[in-house]
Symmetry: C2
Subunit: 96 residues, 2 copies
Amino acid sequence: MSNQELEELRSKLDEINLKLLELLNERAEIAQLIGHLKTKQGMVKFDPVREREMLNELVKHNRGPFDDNTVRHLFKQIFKASLELQEENKNKQLLV
Amino acid sequence: MSNQELEELRSKLDEINLKLLELLNERAEIAQLIGHLKTKQGMVKFDPVREREMLNELVKHNRGPFDDNTVRHLFKQIFKASLELQEENKNKQLLV
């Protein structure tokens, strides 16, 4: 009985994992487009002010159970991965 | 013109950020429920086999632009935060 409950919760987690993956990649695509635009305009990629604004907005909307510090930590990792993706693309362009 | 394009892309990112936040907290709630069940059944919280299975499933569905290592890294952070949340709740229960 309880094992069935556990299995049901786990399959919900699996569903959410895939939704998260999809959203993360969708986000990464948009970050890439922003990177291309910034390259064209000669703008720097890393914008600490914009990043802080995004984090503040996220914390403002955070209703838990993750606390604000965890939300900040997880999104900083996401921002960092997106920035690395933009840099990789820039390096690829330099190699062409 | 291009600044408008940048603003549009940024507002899409903001939307996705909030959706990610919502899904992350939804995921955290389910992880908490799993934690409670495991406590009741005297099971250990950290399950490396289950974690590896989830990561494999995510990598199998990854269509990029994030590469598989980045997907693994980001989800490991999410799993870790969820586990910490389960441990915090356990400590709170011990204090009551």
